[in-house]
Amino acid sequence: MLELKFFGRAGQGGKTAAEMIADSALDEGKFTQSFPEYGPEREGAPVKAFVRINDKPVRLHCQIQSPDIVVVIDPTLLECLNVTEGLKENGLLVVNTPKTPKEIREQTKFSGKICTVDGTKISREIFGRNFPNMPVLGALIKAKEIIRMKSLENQIICIFAKKIGEEKTKKNIETVKRAYEEAQIDG
């Protein structure tokens, strides 16, 4: 079983990103579970979302204590939360940041694989606004292909096409692909 933990700020789309990963895996024939951690969150407050991907039905209904992958959508969270808590030593840490993986390693003291991408910059250049949740998914897939890019594209079309129109949906896919290209990996 593969367990993922997303750190983001309420309103940044962490829950959507987690659901997209889960739904893409479901499309690929896996069993999945995704759930956010609900608290007194307001826009900007730190929130967590979780994903489980398995070959058998997921029966666990407890929180994820030692994830295989941690995805940090907002770099400022590295300052106020211990994001690598419980993360498996041979796990993967994906961070949306202009910094290099080496700098993040220094900051977090995490010894496993680290992947960084400046998703905020990519999003600002393509959308003119900061939607950091999609670029980190591109980086995540590059660092570890837990789902195929094609499945994620299908999900993006499925969820966004009706809601925000074809053009913006294409832009979302573009941010994911550019993040995939630009992501830096260490370890």
């Binding site: 700020r9 407050a45 400022t76």
Partner: protein, 119 residues
């Protein structure tokens, strides 16, 4: 004013059931100690030269995060509580408030602190 103690965005859990006060009774006004500044992904930067001290920002700030001087002028932002909503920048009639990226600002702050330490 120095804070007595600074709590995390989520209060640390440590006390057992035998030592806590009953019925969820807590310190009065303890919400003030919640560091909502942790919720910020962008921060307001004040430009004293442009500021006309109209205090529109003070009126509109939903978090009372604008500190004023005794004679009723803009003093500084209370970054412990400011959530970075940007209403102050929006309302400012003379555009004396800029919105900057929080992570970049933090980096800058760190560098400045280092330099100050060297000095």
């Amino acid at each position: 004013m120095a804070k007595k103690k600074k709590l995390q965005a989520v209060c640390p859990v440590e006390h057992g059931w035998k030592t806590i006060k009953p019925a969820g009774i807590t310190e009065p006004g303890s919400a003030e100690e919640l560091k909502t500044g942790d919720w910020r992904s962008q921060r307001p930067i004040h430009n004293m030269e442009k500021c006309i001290h109209c205090l529109q920002c003070f009126i509109f700030c939903p978090d009372c995060a604008i500190k004023t001087t005794e004679d009723g002028k803009f003093k500084e932002f209370d970054y412990y509580h400011c959530k970075g909503c940007g209403i102050c920048a929006e309302i400012c009639p003379v555009k004396a408030i800029d919105i900057a990226d929080e992570s970049e600002s933090l980096e800058k702050e760190k560098k400045e602190n280092k330099q100050n330490a060297k000095k």
